[in-house]
Structure formats: C-alpha cells, structure tokens
C-alpha cells in the first residue's frame, strides 16, 4: 500500500483528449483528401505532402530551436498543413506550398505560443498570405478526371453571369482548390465531426444558411443561391475553419454570432466586390473580432451579481 496515488478531484475523466480531437479532424478531412486525389490526380498529392510535411517539420524545428517542449505529437500541425493544402489548387508549385505553410505554422501559430494561443486560424492566414504573395493560388486548376471546357472556377463563371450544374458542384467536378470542390466529401466529414461531438452544428449551418438567405434576398434566384453556397470554399471553410476552437468564440451563442458575421462578410465580398471569393477573408476578420464577440455574448453566471 506504499504507492497510493494522490491527486486532486475529480478522479474520473470523460476520456476526451486534445490529441483525439485533432485526430478526429484529420479523419473527417480524409474523404475530402481522397476526393482531391481522385478529382485532381497525382499532382494534388504533391501539394498535400509538401504542406503536411512542412507543417510538422516546421513546428518540430521551431520547438527544437527555441528549446520548447515538443508538441508535434498533438497532431495540430498535421491539421494545419492538411487544411492549407486542401485550400490550394494544383497550380501552386511545391516551393510556394512550403513557404506558405512555414508562414502559417511559424508566424501565425508558433511565435504566438503554439497551440491554443494563436488569434487567427493558421491555415486561413497562410492561404491569405499566399493569395497576396503568389498569383497562382487564386485560380483553380482543372480536374483531371473530367473534360472541362473552361479553366474558370464556378465562382468566376457565376460572376460572369454563366450558370453551373448543381450536381457537378456537389460532386466537385470543377476547377478550384483541391479540397473545397467535393461537397459530398466535406459533408461526410461534417457528419463524422458531429457524431464524434467534436463540433456542434451551429457554426457551419448558420454560416452557410446566412450566405444562402442573403443571396435569396438579393437575387431571388434559388439556383443562384444554391450555386453560391456549393461553389468555392464555403463548405470547407464553414465546416473545418470557422469551427476551429482556438480562433472562434468559446460559447455557443458566440459561435452563432461568429458564423453570422462570416456569412454576411462572405456575401458582401462575393456580391459587391470584384473579388470572387470571400470565405477566407470573412473567417480571418471574424477571428480578429472573436475576443469582442466572446465578451458581448458571455452568459450571466447563475446567481451572479453585477
């Protein structure tokens, strides 16, 4: 009886762990990753591999150089690398993937203190950085499995007043970032995250519905509104990036406000601005507003006195 363990209560635990959560996000991204490889061919593999490897090695090296505890085992670097890769097209050369990922992992995450301390989503910020730095990021590469007449992404087509096939949008048989096109795969990932209770439905549903409703109000065209939500990075952004714990409000109420804001900004950029896509910017802007949203939506504690 010499070795009875002493520890603070509670003495049981839900079993949830940060590693498992990150692993679940990776698993949820696998259908989209597989779809990327199927739709865009082997070239997408080089994007995926270069981003993921750079993220992991970058974080590991940062920790070694700064003599910090090694954190790559928590899988969060893998998530960042994978998400960034899925938001790029096969037009992006490997060296750009490496530079962009290093920016995301080192400048956005590690120097702010690592997991949990960054104020903006590393993958999104990395993508926006690349968008500004490298022109190749903005356009979408063509799928390799189908013949596509135009090299324009659906959002560009919609901007020009052309119509797009909804089923093609749903299956992802069009140009764009490798992971954003196949809505079916993204929704499978969403369902998995819901089942595993990693996220709640609020953010993705509110974000996507807001964009849909605003398009309905402004255009009155169901086909247009549906095309707008299925095209571009809305689903991947709403399901996987606007739900990032670290950079979004901690309360459900706050998350709803966050998602609403994302939806409105996405709509404004897409509808009123020259720029065809607004998801990344909207999430980044709302990331910055997160502390304020959190403060404004804080619940009154039960029995609290002001």
């Amino acid at each position: 009886m010499a070795n009875l363990k002493i520890s603070a209560a509670p003495h049981i635990h839900s079993g949830a762990s940060s590693n498992r959560i990150m692993l679940d996000v990776i698993i949820a991204l696998l259908p989209a990753t597989a779809a990327a490889v199927v739709i865009f061919g082997m070239k997408s593999l080089s994007v995926l591999l270069s981003c993921v490897l750079t993220a992991v090695i970058g974080e590991a090296l940062f920790n070694i150089v700064c003599k910090k505890k090694q954190t790559v085992g928590d899988f969060s670097a893998v998530v960042t690398g994978l998400l960034l890769a899925l938001n790029l097209s096969t037009n992006v050369p490997v060296w750009q993937c490496v530079v962009g990922t290093l920016f995301a992992i080192i400048c956005v995450k590690c120097i702010f203190g690592g997991l949990g301390r960054n104020f903006a989503n590393p993958a999104i910020t990395g993508r926006v950085f690349m968008l500004v730095a490298f022109s190749a990021v903005a356009g979408g590469a063509n799928p390799t499995i189908v013949d596509v007449a135009t090299s324009a992404t659906p959002l560009e087509q919609l901007g020009k007043g052309e119509t797009v096939e909804l089923m093609d949008l749903f299956l992802g048989l069009h140009g764009g970032a490798i992971g954003e096109t196949c809505i079916l795969a993204l929704v499978i990932g969403f369902v998995y995250l819901l089942v595993r209770k990693v996220i709640t439905w609020h953010t993705p549903v509110v974000f996507i519905s807001t964009v849909f409703v605003l398009y309905m109000v402004f255009t009155g065209d169901v086909h247009m509104a549906l095309s707008q939500i299925l095209a571009g990075g809305l689903f991947i952004g709403a399901i996987f990036m606007a739900t990032d714990y670290v950079t979004t409000p901690i309360t459900t109420r706050g998350r709803v406000v966050f998602a609403l804001g994302c939806g409105v900004i996405t709509f404004i950029i897409r509808y009123f601005c020259a720029y065809p896509e607004g998801v990344s910017f909207s999430i980044l802007i709302m990331n910055i507003l997160t502390p304020f949203i959190e403060k404004l939506t804080a619940k009154e504690p039960l029995g609290g006195v002001k």
């Binding site: 009875l4 209560a9 940060s18 301390r117 670290v246 029995g303």
Partner: protein, 447 residues
Amino acid sequence: MRPKKNISTLKLHHHKHTAASQSVRIAPPKEVLLPMTMHAGAPAEPIVAVGDYVRVGQKIAERGEKGFSSPVHATVSGTVTAIEPYTQADGRSVQIIRIESDGKMEKDPAIKPPVANDVEEFLEVVAESGIVGLGGAAFPLWGKLAAVRRNQIDTVLINGAECEPYITSDHRMMVEHSDLIVKGVEILRKWMKSKRFVIGIEDNKPDAIVKLREAFAGDTSVEVLPLPSIYPQGAKQVLLYNVTGQVVKGGQRLASLGVIIINVSSLAKLAQYMEDGMPLIDRIVTVDGSAVKEAKNLVAPIGTPIEHLFEQAGGLNCEPGKVLIGGPMLGIAVKSMSEPTQKATNAILAMTEKEAKTFEPTACIRCGRCVANCPVSLNPAALARAAELEDEDQRFIRLQEYSIGQCIECACCSYVCPAHKPLMAQNLQAKRFVKKYKAEHTTEGRN
C-alpha cells in the same frame, strides 16, 4: 415555479453496483479516530482525557465557541488512548481523539430521548446530536435549522439526488428507512412550520421513489420528485433551480428565499435521534471500486479506519492505484489506509492502478467543453487564464470579473477538459487567493 428547462450537464456512468445491497452493520473496529473537524465551522473541543473509559454515544468533545460547531460523540465503547494532532488526507492538520474499542459497543446509560418545548430548545437538542450534513458538506444541521430564527422556511428540499457515481448510501437509507424520513418530515413540520416538502431523487433510484411515495401516500404537502440522473443534480444551486426555479444570488443565504435543503440521510438521523436520543455515531458507507472484492453498503461507526471497511468488504483483489474517501468526482485521495471515515463520508472507493492513471495537462485549445458543461454558466477556461496572471491586482480583478465566487466546485470542467487541465483545483486555489486578497486589502483600508 419549476423551470421549463433543467440545468443539465454531465451524464456519467452511474456505477451504482451497490444499489440493491442491504446495508450491513460491521463488527466494531479495534480503534476509531475521531477528528474534531468533521463538520464545517469551528472545531469541537475535547472534554475527555487520555485513559478515560467512554461508552457509545457519550459526548467526548463539545461545540467550539465560535460560530456554528458540532459536538463529537464516542462511536465505540473503550478507552481514550490519545488526543493528538493528525494530518488529514486533505492536508489539514487537525486534532483527533483515538479510542481503542473493547468490542462490547456498550451504550452510554445516560442516553434518553431529547425533550424540547420550544424552537430554541429544539435547536439546542439538535446541536447536541452532532448531526451534520451527511451528503458531503458537513454543515451542522442545527445551524441550518437555525435559519428559522430569521426567516419563515416555507419549503424544505430533501436532497436524495445522490448524483455521484458509485455512492448508494442515501439510496439505501431511503429504501430501508422510509419510516424515519416520514418522522423527520413530521419533526420539521412541527418545529420549522414548513408547508411544503419536496424530496428530490434521481430517477436511477426507482425503488426509493416508489418506497417514499408509498410512505407519503395521502400527504399532499410532500412531493416525491424524480429528477434526471445527471451530475451534479444534488448540488445546492442546481437542485434548488431544477426543483423551484429559484436561484441563490451571490452573498445571499438560501434561507432568505424561504427554503432549506437537507440531505435525506441527515433527516433520517435526526428522526432517529429525536426518537431514542442516540447521537450521530454511525452511518451507511458505500464500499466500492474495481479493486474491491465485494462492493457493499456497511453501517460503520464514524472514525473507522478505511482499511477495516475494505476488510469487511472481502478485502481487495489487487494492489489499489488510488483510494478515495467520497465519490470519484469530489472525493479525496488518501495516502494511508488507516485514514478514518468521517461524519460526511458516504463512500470509500478503491481504484485499480489503471483507473488511477493521471494525464499531464496540455495547452487549452478553447474547445468550450468546460463552458458548455458548467452548471452555473461560468467560463472555466477564462478563470484558469485569470488565475495564471502574475500580477495579483490584475488576477483579483479578472477572477472577480469572471465570477469565481459562483463556482459550485462540482468538477464538471476538469472532467470534460481534453487538455486534462485541473480546472476545479485551480478554481479552489483561486477562491482562496480572492479571500486572502480581500482580507489583506480591507485591513489596509482600515489602517
């Protein structure tokens, strides 16, 4: 008004293995250790000397002078062998009285049913009973009832929720001694002039609900209310809200709402005491945990070393990794098997090495599980960040801003945290810091 939506947080595995285990009185242990601090409030003061022979039920320590206190009675017959300082499992250094049992369990002949002619006399006899809140808080019962001096207590909530896993001590009390609970209600009706009684029981104890409904059949002032089996259903603030829709505001007393909450076992013990005059000397203790051979409910003299209780439950089937006094959510891990049970000890649990595994805390990822599962809507993640601030003034301001005082110490936050952060332990520490800070700054103000 009962709320439309209950506070509901954790669904824990109940592990109520001993729910059907009839409580069994154990053979007296060789020795009992009786701390002078088995209740919240001022420590009791010994009135016996080393070498004295004491009998069961004899008062061996009287109420401390300051504030609410509670006397201590001999729980076995035998000789006082020591009155000495003792370091408890929770780290507190307290005074204890050791009694070596002669095995006879000889009753103190002076014990007779108490007589009370008015409320003050009633409170006095309750104070002398040594009964405290048996659900865990250990607040002297008379102190709770003394609210009647200032407030009309319309409603008595009788807490039979027993929401912590494993523990079935209150459950067995309700099933085996429903008669005492009926008598207890009568006593409170007589002295507190209360009009409404609600017995809140989690719905994982259907037999207790049936039993008490039968016992109170025809009495419209008593409601036996099944509650969802959700942790922490039995916490004061949660029970109050779920049953009455009321909330105790910070700094307010529950009694000012015209309500008191009494643990169901405390009430049964009160009824027993008013009947035969035997003060609080024993109680039902659930002995369970994967390392225990035969999980059981045992009626044990207070102060029994837990080792003796485990022996009475068939011993252990492996070297335990961790031994708890209390439940798995709020219990205290002990260093030694000679640690005694106390008045509020409702369970002792022996966990296996595997179950006792602890994890290194990692960085908060702001997942919000602690926020979503806090029954009183605090933001434990923000509190933890505030508690880590170096600057004391800043820390104090932040902790107050996030309402540290409203934390009900239920441990839900720590339970769900995927980063394994000791959020509740941190809150307890933060509360102590706030108290100290306030004390220091008010004296400065006066000077």
